[in-house]
Symmetry: C2
Subunit: 157 residues, 2 copies
């Protein structure tokens, strides 16, 4: 879906943020890629494997500022698509049962969490970042919409 | 993009709202369809045609509650896709020049607006409703994410 959403857009639309150290759509995409590499499936594997150590590593919220360097948005879109497809295959191969959903891992900040909560958060995290990308892109049109600005609540947040 | 986003999802996810008289993703889709039929291109035509009357009709923000009745989400997705494709063809055929962008119409509540502002609002309006759909869908997972709720700002709005 992100490919349909963001492909072929001008860079000055996808690289702008909401000011200060907020994230652009390009930054968000790098963050989602890092999640595919180090977060969701990796943590699901920790919960489901036979090891006694159930502690997750901390997630690096700033990894994209190193990893995306010199990459074009289109590259990131392809990278995300590939990683997500691989991870959904891995998820399917896990053959997760209802009982598995209650199995637990230890989040470095939040403490004990279940596999069900982890997978629910994966979905919700996608949605929150789609909302963010849409909002950030909408805001670049704040001046262009003229008097309509008062009808579009998101522009005033 | 909405087809990729919303197709084949369970109805109890796409038909739930944020409480009270807020809109579900299904409601938003009906609203976008009504916009394709009566708002953006219709108003662009009013601005660009030779008639002296440049006043737009009021947009009905509640039309979807009549028009979507008994329709499935998949039907609405196809209807929107078709209407949007037709409207983009019409837009292309208008061969809008830079000078045209300054031409004016009269919005029933906002007064004088330009074609440029109308077209910018069309894009921004899409984005604000994509953000809304994502937020409303994310909120249905508020309980499921467990302790992660504190990390996902959108769930607490």
């Amino acid at each position: 879906m992100l490919k349909v959403f963001l492909s072929n857009l001008p860079a000055d639309w996808t690289h702008r943020n909401e000011g200060g150290d907020t994230w652009s759509p390009y930054d968000v995409l790098g963050h989602l890629i890092h999640g595919e590499k180090t977060d969701w499936i990796v943590r699901a594997e920790i919960i489901l494997n036979d090891s006694a150590n159930k502690e997750f590593k901390s997630f690096d919220r700033y990894a994209q500022f190193r990893n995306s360097k010199r990459k074009k948005l289109e590259q990131l879109l392809s990278e995300f698509e590939k990683l997500r497809a691989e991870n959904l295959s891995k998820l399917k191969a896990m053959n997760i049962s209802t009982a598995d959903l209650s199995r637990k891992g230890i989040h470095p900040q939040l403490g004990i969490v279940t596999l069900k909560q982890l997978l629910s958060t994966w979905v919700t995290h996608d949605l929150t970042h789609i909302a963010q990308i849409s909002r950030v892109m909408a805001k670049q049109y704040k001046d262009e919409v003229g008097p309509w600005v008062e009808y579009i609540g998101i522009l005033n947040k």
